[in-house]
Chain length 586, copies 2
């Protein structure tokens, strides 16, 4: 297993450990790069390509390094692969190559897995040849995986330098299930220090940048996934989410991302501090270039009855509710604003667009959603994230001597809601959480058969680096454990459309003030190119309904169910902050 | 609302508070007693009745005080009422009277609700007259309710003297659902101090005795329910269970009792210390004179989609799996012994009987179950019950100055597994719990499609008072959150059958030693008449399957699906311990 990392021995400085991890990453990436110019490459070169740029900072120049077949294949979505059944070896090879290119552009990878992925792909092709049928519903689909999800024999550091060298003894249960369904695991992706940023910066691997505007974050904590799927280095990725960590990167990179209800997908085998904490539970979930990819992922995993192997899960079959909204009109409640932090203009513009179209639809009813106590929700969840006052996470950071990232400081040390609980005060806080959940359920019960809430996925598009400091639009639904899907609104920040002056807006509170200070400082120009995404939320366990409702909404509004196959990029030099200097990014 | 209690004002001693509660109880009970000899009563007097006994200590003499109609009606089961639709007023009146008699025999009631129950019954009869159909699936079924489950306007003391005067502001959600289904609430029943005994003794209401042998406990903590249903003062009762509190009283009184998986029935509105604790979750569930009563209760409540009103619940419909075991042979694994505490001879005899019959069945496969680490399971759950070191429960006891009951001392102060956790050690303990659950799921996965485990419901029949000191046969399934139903094995302890000498048994550990010292001391003679019950356990969320499997097992072994309509009692004087002296029991 040549992909298995060699951990450097104890006694190394954190810098040495990090450098070793990056060397390992770069070696695996290098293996996936085309070693010399392929004669077929020129065929697919876009007309306006700046072929002189060859330093890996420009996506367009990178894309030259895919030949036409590779470019075509990596524009497939999950459903193209599972229905068309292309040769798994070709598909895998193409996605490995594109993932390597993505790494050069946005720094999203912790390691690529060329040897084992290609071995697996060959095995699948042999199976197909012999049995004339797929091995399972995901036969030959390359899947990328956030690093803190266990892969046997590979490092599982969860973004902490001190955890480097923790080698997984077996694959996470989810990966075992996906493997049995025919998956090929080709890439492992970056996460931030602590796993608790809505961006992706670590002392191990550096910063993951946004493919559409490198001055913006890819989001986090599954930001490696977000950027990789955004660049089509993967059609289906696995992230995790306890406050927005699937949805923020999905939103920031213009792809689909789904946070299911807790207990529907197995998390067994992920690695994170605070094992045994259950006050707020995280979930695992898919990011994909297509809604179909999200749905197939969910159905495949739940159909495997994972609750028999992970008893913390709920024994709830994946329901076929395809006919639901032909029998019943879909009723959507729109939450324009959570009344804590007002979204930036591009978000409201996109929401306005879609709602206008929904109002015209014959098949959808639209009402407004009046949010209730979202500020209190944040204070509850922010306190419950770190009921030990952040001790375990701090210890994991401090053990190696690595510096604290600004957003780790922000969420743990500067967070007024974090305190060291005793058992008594923890129980009180949990009771307060339960009471909030109860009130929100009662609120929903007053909203005459509303099916889903349509709302922003964040207080703006992808923030500037270190500025992702308002979680409320995503963490709200973690607190309530409501399933939520993020989808691209097929639009980007534009100076023309979003450049109106907002200087006279009076913020409501500090968080609102911070969010608007960002917009005032950078304006539409600063966020130019950032994909605009929205979020659709359902009641607890209404996972199937949320996805079915999204299908109806996309259909009724003419929005696409897949992200565009050709990525339009405004080339810009990467502007990475100072603490990135040790990163091996180009 | 004349049933509403008058709370005595603050400043009273605990003795005064308790005396007031008992006066209130007795007044409500007195209202339900026949005030003078009914001419029809003699018709139903058993031939061997000792009519000279009139002090309330003998069930047979009490039963005289039911007339023939009342005796007939109180021998109905839930299904007789819901299918036969007798007049709700007559049914309610009959059960009120029988509950009053039961109170005189075993002391199981905290208050009867004659005024509101009769009002409700009249309302139901009027509905029937007008609509010619039942108001819901439980139309006219009298239901008894453990006291700590909220009833609007009534005391909710949960067995603590210091909590007397906490008056519920609204009905528990479960009761609202049952009300909508047509229930009549006629009785509230006793629970022990702390809710954490497998018997029912409190300074407020005294000891609840076993109807079949008053030297034995009725079990607990839903012991008031167990004894009341055992005496047919109720056909359907509501208990709660975090370590055996539904199943112990069901077993001790020879009735059906079901602990569902956590999250299937709403607990919203119950009262207990440690709100917000979620390391081990309790459940609510039915006790009934019939398996059909249990099933109808479950289906009725789950069909009401309680998760929409209580978001902690799982959105899992009640599945109709009636055809399951005609398509697939039922596979039963028998756990004879948990390998920690060996059951007393009557239990093993009953298990042997039933297994012998199952082996002969064409429709059932039988294998043995090899338990794994049940001693460790007890150490995990016993520690997690009181993660605050028992502080909140102790405070609730100490606040009034009431004395500690022996079993409160035993479970909190003398329990070596109880410690005051900090958040860190609590998380570790929860992680250990999760690991144990994981291992047990893996164990089950190795047992080739076993559907259910058949096992003892306790280490013996109903223990002597203060001797219920081994919870393992029930708490095991709370730790694992497996649904479990207790059912009567249609047999009682008998000197002839169970009297063999066991003096040479060498106990395995202290708990085993204690359990066997009890048997050696009291022998078959000491437990004579005690009903023998067994337990059937399924995997998490297999609630429907457990009940369906029990139906098959009863059918195949010729065991009844209802408890016998006529209770055979060996009259004995009540032998209550000293600390009962303040009780108003006869």
């Amino acid at each position: 297993m040549s992909d298995i990392r060699k951990t450097i021995p104890g006694g190394a400085t954190w810098q040495e450990v990090a450098a070793d991890r990056r060397r390992h990453r770069d070696a695996t990436v290098e293996k996936c790069r085309r070693q010399q110019r392929d004669a077929t490459v020129d065929k697919c070169m876009p007309e306006d390509t700046d072929v002189s740029a060859s330093n890996g900072t420009l996506l367009t120049s990178h894309m030259q390094l895919l030949n036409l077949e590779e470019l075509t294949m990596t524009n497939y979505n999950v459903e193209d692969i599972t229905r068309g059944h292309p040769n798994a070896e070709s598909i895998t090879s193409a996605f490995l190559r594109r993932a390597a290119l993505a790494q050069g552009v946005v720094n999203c990878i912790t390691e690529l897995l060329p040897d084992q992925a290609m071995r697996r792909a060959k095995e699948l092709d042999a199976y197909w040849l012999e049995h004339k049928k797929p091995i399972g519903p995901l036969h030959g689909v390359p899947i990328s995986v956030k690093e803190h999800i266990a892969m046997k024999g590979l490092d599982q550091n969860a973004g902490f330098v001190s955890w480097v060298g923790r080698v997984a003894e077996e694959d996470a249960l989810l990966l075992q299930i996906l493997w049995d369904a025919g998956a090929v695991f080709h890439a492992r992706t970056a996460q931030p220090q602590s796993l608790m940023h809505l961006e992706t910066s670590s002392n191990l691997y550096g910063v993951t940048a946004n493919p559409f505007n490198p001055s913006l974050t890819a989001g986090g904590s599954s930001g490696g996934e977000g950027a990789l799927v955004g660049l089509r280095g993967s059609v289906l990725g696995i992230g995790t989410d306890i406050g927005g960590s699937i949805r923020s990167p999905a939103a920031n990179n213009g792809v689909f991302g789904f946070k299911p209800t807790v207990g529907r997908l197995p998390i067994l085998g992920w690695s994170a501090p605070m094992a045994g904490c259950e006050a707020i539970l995280g979930t695992i979930g898919p990011l994909s270039t297509s809604l179909e990819g999200v749905k197939l992922f969910m159905k495949t995993v739940v159909d495997a009855k994972p609750w028999l192997r992970s008893p913390s899960l709920v024994a709830l079959d994946w329901k076929d509710i395809s006919g639901l909204f032909s029998e019943k009109r879909l009723k959507v409640a729109v939450m324009w604003d959570d009344e804590v932090v007002k979204p930036h203009p591009p978000i409201t513009r996109a929401l306005d667009n879609i709602v206008m179209k929904l109002h015209k639809s014959q098949n959808v009813d639209v009402v407004d959603w009046a949010p209730q106590g979202h500020d209190r929700a944040w204070s509850i969840i922010a306190g419950l994230y770190f009921a030990d006052g952040g001790a375990q996470t701090s210890e994991a950071i401090n053990a190696s001597g690595e510096p604290w990232m600004p957003l780790s400081e922000w969420i743990i040390k500067d967070n007024p809601h974090v305190k060291k609980h005793d058992v008594d005060s923890l129980w009180s806080a949990c009771a307060e959480r339960d009471e909030y959940r109860q009130k929100y359920a009662e609120l929903w019960n007053t909203m005459a058969d509303v099916d889903v809430i349509l709302c922003p996925a964040g207080p703006g598009v992808a923030p500037k680096l270190n500025a992702a400091r308002y979680w409320g639009y995503t963490s709200q639904w973690n607190l309530l454990d409501y399933p939520a899907v993020v989808f691209p609104a097929k639009d980007h920040v534009s100076v023309d459309k979003d450049g109106a002056d907002v200087a006279d807006y009076t913020p409501r509170n500090d968080a609102d003030e911070y969010n608007w200070s960002q917009w005032k400082e950078h304006g539409a120009e600063g966020y130019k190119g950032g994909p605009i995404s929205l979020q659709l939320v359902g009641r607890r366990y209404d996972d199937e309904k949320v996805l079915a409702a999204l299908e109806v909404i996309l259909e009724e509004t003419g929005l696409p169910t897949t992200v565009p196959p050709t990525i339009e990029i405004t080339p810009q030099p990467l502007g990475l902050p100072e603490f990135q200097s040790f990163s091996s990014m180009a």
